[in-house]
Symmetry: C2
Subunit: 367 residues, 2 copies
C-alpha cells in the first residue's frame, strides 16, 4: 500500500476525526529550516496546531522563537518553556492584564506583544510599571492588509514614544502581509517587495537614530521571499500541517499535508449522492462550499451541501460507495479546522499511536 | 439603561466571549411550551447549546424528550439523566459501538437512534444481540432535503425489516425538513405540508398493518407548522438561543436572542475601519462575509474582512469608535458559534454571574 495517508486500524476510529502524521510534521520543519540561512531567523506561528507536541518538535528542529495569536496559545508556549514567544496581537483592556499575568507566571519564556496605538502602549506601560515588569513590544505595521497596524510613515514616532514610556522595551517591527497570496511567485515576490519597501525605509530611519529594530515579517505565502531578505525573522504558520488551499496556491513550496480529517459515509440519500459525517463543525467553512475539503482517496467527490454534522457530496451514477466507507479529507484551511477538535489522533507507521491535545483551542488555560 | 444586552461589569470580560442570558433562555422555553397543545410533543435538539445548564432549564419547563446529533451530546443527556434522548443520526461503524456503550452506561435514559439502511440496521442488531440489549430506532426519512434518510415510499419495507431483526425495537419515523426555510410563512406551510404528505401516507399504511409509529418532525423553521399537526413530536433547536439569521427569516416566531458574542475594537487600521477580535475562530462563518454577525450596539458596522482572530468592519468617516470599545455581536448562526467556545459566561441582572461549559463540543466525553 503506497498511499501515505492510509490507516490500517481505521475501522476502530470514530469519525469525524482529526489525524496528524508526525513524520510529515518533522519533514515540514526540516524543509523550513533548510530554506533559511540561520535557524535563529525562524519564528513560526503556532495557531495552526495549538498543541504542545508540535511545539516540542519545533524546538527539536533547533527553533527557539515562536509567534502566537491568543493568550491561551502564549500560555501553551510558556508551559513548554520556549525561550521566546511573540503574542502577535495588541492586547487591549482585560487582555493586557492577562498578558502581564502570563509574563509573571512563566519567567522562563521571554514574551513580547504588538502595539500599534499610543492608548494601548499607555495601558501596557501603566500595567508594567505597577507590576515592576518590562513589556517587550513590536510596533505592528499596516503594510497593506488593512487589518491592524499603524502606517509605516507614522510608526517611527510611535516607536520613539514607546521607547520613552516606563515599563516598555521596544524590540522591533511586525509586518504581516497576509493580503499577498498570488499564485504566481514572481507576482507575489514583486508585491511583497513593494509592501516591504516602507518597512525597509523605516528601519533605515530608526537605525539612523541609533536604534536596532528586529523585523518580523510575513506568513507562509511570503516565507520564501522574506527568507531571502537578510536579517528578517520569518513567521510561517500553515507550513507545519499544510492544506489543500496552500497546496494549490503555493505549489513552489516543498511542504506536504501532515493533518487530515477522517470521515465516513453515513447515508446514501439518493442514487448518486453520499452523506458524510464531516459537518461544518468538523472542517473549517469560512470558504465557499466547493472549497471546504477534498478527498485523497476519492478525488472525484464534489461537495453539494454542508450542515452542522453532515456533508453531502455528488458521487455520480454507479459510484460503488457503501455505508461506513472511510474518506481521507484534506481541508482547504487546516488552521481553523484543527481548532474544531479537542485532540488529534497521531498516526505512526500507518496506525493510531496516541493523541495530541489541541490545548490552545480553549480561550483560556489557567490565566 | 434599557438595552437588555448591556453588561455592567464588561470591562473585566476578556474578548472574544460567548455570553448567555438565562432569563431569555427561560422565556424562549416558555414560548415554545405555550405554542403546543401538549408538552409531551416537544423534543428539542440540544446541538445549539451543548450544555447541561440549558438541559436542566428545559427539564424544568416540563420537557422530557430530547434530540441530539452526536454521541457526546447524547452522553451529556445521559449525565443529566433525561428520560428520553434521540440520537438523530445513524450510527455507523465504531459510532454504533459507542452508542451501545452509552446505552449501557446511562440506563436511566431511554435512548434511540436513526436508521435509514438495512446495513446499519444489521450492525445495530448484531451489536445489540451480542450485548443483550434492545436498540430503539426511528426510520430516518428523506422528505426532500436529500441529506440523509430513505425515501418514504421505500421506508415501510425497512420499518418491517427492522421490526423483525433481533435486538431492534422500531419506535417510529424521523422527518427532518431543514430544506424548508422560506421567509413567507404561507409558502413555508404549503411546502411543509407537501413534504409531509408521503410521511402521513406511510403512517396510515403502517397503522393499517397494526403498527403505531411515533413521528418526530421538523426543526425551528417548521415548528409552528408541525406544532399544529396532531400527535407529531417537534424538534426545534435554534429557538433556545435564537440568532440573527432566524430572527430575520422567521419574524413570525416569538423567540428572542439569548446568546451573543462580545468583541472589542483592537486596532484602527485606517480612518474609517475598525479591527475587532471576533475572528472566524470566534463566530460561525459558513455563511457569506456579510452574514457573519451584526452588532446590537453598532448596527451600522459592515463586515469587510475576516480572518482567524480578526474581523475588519467599515465604520464610516468620523466614526468615534476607540480602542477597547465593546461590541455586542448577534451571530447569524448561533449553533456552530457556541461550539467554538469552551464556556459561555452567564449574564444575570446585567452582570457576569457564572459560566456554562460547552461540554458536548468535545467529540467524546467518557465514551
Amino acid at each position: 500500500m503506497d498511499e501515505w495517508f492510509r490507516i490500517l486500524d481505521v475501522a476502530a476510529v470514530d469519525t469525524p476525526a482529526l489525524v496528524v502524521y508526525p513524520a510529515r510534521v518533522h519533514a515540514n520543519l526540516a524543509q523550513l529550516v533548510a530554506r533559511i540561512d540561520d535557524v535563529a531567523r525562524l519564528r513560526p506561528h503556532i495557531k495552526t496546531h495549538k498543541t504542545p507536541a508540535a511545539v516540542r518538535l519545533t524546538l527539536a528542529a533547533g527553533i527557539t522563537k515562536f509567534k502566537c495569536a491568543t493568550v491561551a496559545e502564549a500560555e501553551l508556549l510558556g508551559q513548554c518553556a520556549v525561550p521566546d514567544a511573540l503574542l502577535a496581537y495588541q492586547p487591549v483592556g482585560p487582555k493586557a492584564v492577562r498578558f502581564l499575568a502570563l509574563m509573571a507566571a512563566y519567567p522562563a519564556t521571554r514574551f513580547s506583544c504588538l502595539v500599534d496605538h499610543p492608548a494601548a502602549a499607555a495601558q501596557l506601560s501603566a500595567l508594567a510599571t505597577a507590576a515592576g515588569q518590562t513589556v517587550r513590544v513590536f510596533i505592528d505595521l499596516n503594510v497593506g492588509m488593512n487589518r491592524s497596524g499603524i502606517a509605516p510613515a507614522a510608526a517611527g514616532a510611535l516607536y520613539q514614544q514607546c521607547a520613552a514610556l516606563p515599563g516598555l522595551a521596544v524590540v522591533g517591527l511586525h509586518a504581516y502581509d497576509g493580503h499577498i497570496h498570488d499564485e504566481d511567485l514572481a507576482v507575489r515576490t514583486a508585491r511583497c517587495h513593494a509592501a516591504f519597501a516602507p518597512v525597509a525605509a523605516l528601519v533605515a530611519q530608526l537605525r539612523g537614530a541609533g536604534l536596532a529594530p528586529v523585523v518580523v515579517a510575513g506568513g507562509t505565502p511570503t516565507f520564501p521571499i522574506h527568507a531571502a531578505r537578510p536579517g528578517v525573522e520569518c513567521s510561517p504558520g500553515t507550513f507545519i500541517y499544510w492544506d489543500g488551499g496552500y497546496g494549490r496556491a503555493f505549489a513552489e513550496q516543498p511542504f506536504e499535508p501532515a493533518a487530515l480529517v477522517l470521515g465516513r459515509v453515513v447515508s446514501l440519500p439518493d442514487a448518486t449522492k453520499l452523506c458524510l459525517d464531516i459537518g461544518h463543525k468538523a472542517v473549517a467553512s469560512e470558504s465557499p462550499l466547493d472549497k471546504r475539503l477534498t478527498f485523497l482517496n476519492a478525488p472525484e467527490l464534489r461537495v453539494v451541501g454542508h450542515s452542522e454534522e453532515h456533508l453531502v457530496v455528488e458521487a455520480g451514477p454507479g459510484h460503488g460507495y457503501q455505508l461506513g466507507d472511510v474518506l481521507y479529507g484534506l481541508p482547504h484551511h487546516i488552521c481553523p479546522t484543527v481548532a474544531l477538535y479537542e485532540r488529534a489522533l497521531v498516526i505512526e507507521n500507518q496506525r493510531v499511536a496516541g493523541e495530541w491535545p489541541t490545548l490552545a483551542r480553549a480561550r483560556a488555560l489557567t490565566l
